[in-house]
């Protein structure tokens, strides 16, 4: 607080240093760990703002919200959140979150990780958690590359982009993430960019309120590696591209929302439907099978 200087003096209230106010996101963060490690112009921090706004408006008891990340620049999000937070292994936040959730279904469990983490090494887990309709909210920060390791090709790198392990340009096709999530059975699928902060915050709020497997793709710039190597300017230039080239199409068919190198970006809420979650299915099935002998599973702890 005391090292926070107030630049504003547009009002007639005298702002002495002890009146300097705290950023409203701070109570949601582990203050003592800020400043964070992300580069200047990196979009990950902006997604965190949106997540915090969503959390704030969700009305959830923060003691019952857990966040699980994998490894990567985005993987560091868990460590900055003032929640029960788990920084797991590369690609495995979803199965860790599955264990956490099934062991204590009262928890709201959010998985927050990068495109490489969730769709390269962790792809298999994503498919199955969506298929099972695990009650998890998965936020993928898609920066089209492996940020943490120096900007290598990812399953989300568009054809034609240059990355360190595709030094002559990427000749692979990339994944269309909302299409995968939709096909695997997610009940809520949305894509926004960090230009669309209000919409992204609203999606976070909706996602937190939704029961079942929620997928939110948040496109963000990685200026240090992806933008620079592709001569796309800095972070803010990438946001301007997001602004100019995105079209909002709620309910768009997910097979039509694939991304191309610096091409059009379809954003919006693509899927919002109901499906029985894995745990509800299990409880209903066992109740039918065992009758009165079966007690609905709600996750008692060792302690109880």
């Amino acid at each position: 607080m005391s090292n926070e200087s107030c630049v504003a003096d547009a009002c007639n209230i005298e702002l002495t240093p002890d009146l300097a106010m705290e950023n409203p996101v701070m109570p949601f963060l582990r203050k003592e760990r800020i400043p964070h490690i992300w580069c200047p112009g990196c979009g990950i921090g902006t997604t965190v703002n949106c997540f915090v706004r969503g959390l704030e408006e969700s009305g959830l008891d923060l003691n019952n919200v857990a966040i699980v990340s994998g490894i990567g620049c985005t993987g560091r999000v868990a460590g900055y959140m003032n929640l029960d937070s788990f920084h797991t292994t590369h690609g495995r936040p979803i199965p860790f979150a599955t264990g956490l959730k099934l062991a204590n279904p009262k928890l709201k469990v959010v998985v927050y990780s990068g495109d490489g983490d969730l769709f390269a090494i962790g792809g298999n887990h994503f498919f199955h958690a969506a298929r099972r309709n695990m009650d998890l909210m998965v936020v993928c920060v898609n920066n089209h590359t492996y940020g943490m390791t120096g900007g290598q090709v990812a399953p989300t790198t568009p054809r034609g982009a240059t990355v360190s392990t595709m030094p002559f340009g990427n000749f692979e096709d990339s994944f269309n993430l909302p299409f995968i999530a939709d096909a695997c059975g997610a009940v809520y699928v949305a894509r926004w960019t960090v230009y669309h902060v209000k919409q992204l915050a609203r999606a976070m709020k909706e996602g937190l309120a939704k029961k079942g497997f929620v997928f939110i793709e948040a496109m963000a710039p990685c200026p240090t590696l992806y933008s620079r190597r592709n001569k796309l300017g800095d972070g803010v230039e990438q946001l301007k591209y997001f602004k100019e080239k995105s079209v909002v199409k709620h309910g768009a068919s997910t097979k039509d929302v694939g991304l191309t190198f610096q091409g059009e970006i379809v954003v919006g809420k693509f899927v919002d439907r109901e499906r029985q979650t894995w745990l509800d299915s299990m409880n209903e099935h066992f109740t039918g099978y065992f009758g009165d002998k079966y007690q609905r599973y709600g996750g008692n702890h060792v302690k109880d």
């Binding site: 209230i13 950023n23 921090g45 915050a201």
Partner: protein
């Protein structure tokens, strides 16, 4: 036209924690009222940080706060300011 417009009254303001700013310019480029600019000064890390150069245009909408990837700036509506300061004081006392 401009000459006849009465002086505008500020409706909001911003707070900046200059030392954590990394100079990305998100707040400057995406402020809907274009009231923030880079400072002439550098912070300890060598970045220009934002300053409110047209305070009369600030609405306190906090879009800068939502954009800022470093949690370095946020906006407040003046009508909320007193209330927020009181709340902050109470919190600080409690802590």
């Amino acid at each position: 036209m401009a000459a006849v417009t009465p002086a505008k009254q500020a409706r909001g303001t911003v707070f900046v924690r200059t030392e954590v700013c990394k100079g990305c310019s998100y707040c400057i480029d995406f402020c809907p009222s274009k009231c923030i600019e880079f400072s002439k000064d550098f912070n300890a890390k060598g970045y220009h940080f934002p300053v409110l150069t047209r305070p009369e245009d600030c609405s306190g909408c906090d879009l800068c706060g939502v954009y800022c990837p470093d949690f370095a700036i946020f906006g407040v509506r003046l009508k909320d300011l007193e209330k927020r300061i009181q709340a902050q004081r109470a919190e600080d006392k409690a802590a």
